[in-house]
């Protein structure tokens, strides 16, 4: 299989990234991968953070064709560039995480030894804010509030919530 980037050398690195919840795999040769700041071995060192940012981002070329939607390495939403991140160590917005996904993934591997969140998932929480607000979680939400109110001995609120629930039911 040849490299997706130079179409000349043999691809040795196969990088799967998730953009807008869709997985795409990119095949790169060692040199193209190195130019994009992707390393073939994931080293988990305990270096100070600043050094890590510099080490993992320093090699990334300004032309990050690997990045999601942005052009020339700028986040399409807030306009932050990798250079901005390199200097401040802070991202500009939630979309930066998508725009700079590949180099960030490498950084996360060094910082946390992993790139995959294993904790609570926001969307799976009861009644988490979604684009289409349906009314079904509303009752469950009120019941949970009622439970909390009773537990925290906030009886005035509990009475109010009970009345609201009665109306819905």
């Amino acid at each position: 299989m040849s490299c997706d980037q130079c179409h000349e050398r043999e691809a040795v690195i196969h990088l799967t990234q998730i953009v807008n919840e869709q997985a795409t795999t990119i095949h790169l040769c060692e040199r193209c991968a190195a130019e994009k700041g992707v390393e073939s071995t994931a080293s988990v060192e305990q270096n100070p953070f600043a050094k890590l940012v510099a080490a993992s981002m320093g090699k990334a070329s300004p032309d990050l064709t690997l990045v999601g939607a942005g052009t020339r390495g700028a986040c399409p939403r807030c306009g932050a560039t990798l250079q901005d991140f390199r200097e401040s160590g802070r991202l500009g917005c939630a979309d930066c995480w998508r725009a700079f996904e590949a180099p960030l993934r490498d950084l996360l591997r060094r910082l946390h030894g992993s790139t995959v969140h294993m904790g609570e998932r926001y969307a799976e929480r009861d009644g988490a804010v979604r684009a289409n607000g349906d009314s079904a979680p509303r009752q469950a939400d009120l019941r949970e509030q009622l439970r909390l109110a009773i537990e925290t001995e906030n009886f005035e609120l509990a009475a109010e919530l009970r009345d609201r629930l009665r109306v819905l039911e």
Partner: protein, 360 residues
């Protein structure tokens, strides 16, 4: 003027020394970093953006159970000493309080507080949910903050990525956004010169340590904050279990170190403890640095049973109320006024006298 009486427990309920292992562990703190998906992060946002975030979170908080009666402190409208007081109470970070070297407060910097829970707003992340508990209480503290997270998450669109988890401004916090810290007093390990070895060991197992006032603060009075270093790749429960296990091990080491001290150098330890107690009871002027080191000596004395007339709660109270901004606000003095050292010594003498008299 800041009105702390609005807080039900004065914001120091975590001091009461009621929690597990509270002879060594002062408090457990849990913090969750969250951002609103539809607002740019702090480094790129404007003052109106931050105001909007404030009002959105306020509205959401009023609709919750856990924060509906919250008191709001707008740090950008408080004097420096008042901001420092909130920081001394561990209610806000040094950064949010604008106590870094440039001394500037960010417009929109605020904190909501209700009982043991709070939310810092317009910190490095839009929201920093936090909970403080007395003693070593990782699960209890987390479960409260987790419920607050659920309540707010139902009302606010948090930035979340299917692979990376909760998105934060700094990659060191991404994923769970969870930082759990245990504030622990370790004089035995410091005196036996074992502390650096222990801290090195902790770094190797993915934990980190800070001083009494969190990030970038000095190690004073043999107090250390131990917390998880990584936030991604492990579940909240795994992170807490790991930290808890390590803290319990550190507690064992500390107890052993105290036994060694009592066995091998009893005279030196007794002298150290009683000197500390004597100075606190009779000194006419105390700097905060001197006071906190003496508190450490007395705390050790109480812990190993040398001093019996002083409670941990009293020692915790002394630690909080002798801090510079606390004394300055209480007496209407400037933060750098040399009179503070005199007032500090007065306060310490009075509290100890009452305590010893009461218990005798």
């Amino acid at each position: 003027m800041i009105d702390l009486s609005l807080l039900t427990d004065g914001g120091v309920g975590w001091l009461d020394a009621s929690g597990p292992a509270s002879h060594l562990v002062l408090s457990t703190r849990i913090r969750l970093a969250r951002n609103l998906a539809d607002h740019v992060f702090l480094t790129r946002n404007s003052e109106p953006d931050r105001e909007e975030i404030l009002s959105l979170v306020h509205r959401a908080a009023q609709d919750t159970v856990l924060l509906r009666r919250a008191v709001t402190f707008r740090l950008d409208s408080l004097e420096r000493t008042e901001r420092q007081l909130l920081h001394e109470r561990h209610l806000v970070s040094k950064e949010l309080a604008g106590l870094d070297s440039d001394g500037k407060v960010r417009a929109g910097a605020s904190v909501l507080v209700q009982d043991r829970l709070g939310v810092m707003l317009n910190e490095e992340d839009h929201l920093r949910l936090q909970g403080l508990h007395s003693g070593l209480a990782l699960e209890q503290a987390y479960s409260e903050v987790d419920r607050l997270d659920a309540e707010l998450g139902q009302r606010l669109p948090f930035a979340f990525h299917p692979e990376f988890g909760y998105l934060t401004s700094c990659p060191t916090n991404v994923g769970t956004g969870l930082r759990a810290s245990v504030l622990i007093h370790l004089p035995g390990l410091v005196l036996t010169k074992e502390m650096s070895k222990v801290l090195q060991g902790l770094a190797q197992v993915g934990l980190t340590f800070r001083g009494l006032y969190g990030e970038g603060s000095e190690f004073v009075g043999n107090f250390f904050q131990l917390s998880n270093q990584t936030t991604l790749g492990k579940s909240e429960t795994e992170l807490l279990d790991h930290l808890g296990k390590m803290v319990r091990q550190v507690i064992d080491y500390e107890e052993q170190a105290r036994q060694v001290l009592l066995r091998d150098a009893p005279t030196i330890i007794e002298d150290k403890v009683w000197r500390a107690f004597g100075l606190l009871r009779y000194a006419r002027s105390l700097s905060f640095d001197e006071a906190i080191n003496l508190f450490s000596g007395v705390r050790l004395g109480v812990g190993i049973g040398l001093i019996s007339g002083v409670g941990m709660y009293t020692l915790n109270k002394l630690l909080v109320y002798t801090q510079p901004a606390h004394l300055a606000v209480a007496h209407g003095l400037g933060i750098a006024d040399p009179e503070l050292s005199v007032r500090r010594a007065q306060y310490v003498r009075r509290v100890l006298e009452e305590e010893v008299g009461r218990r005798a």
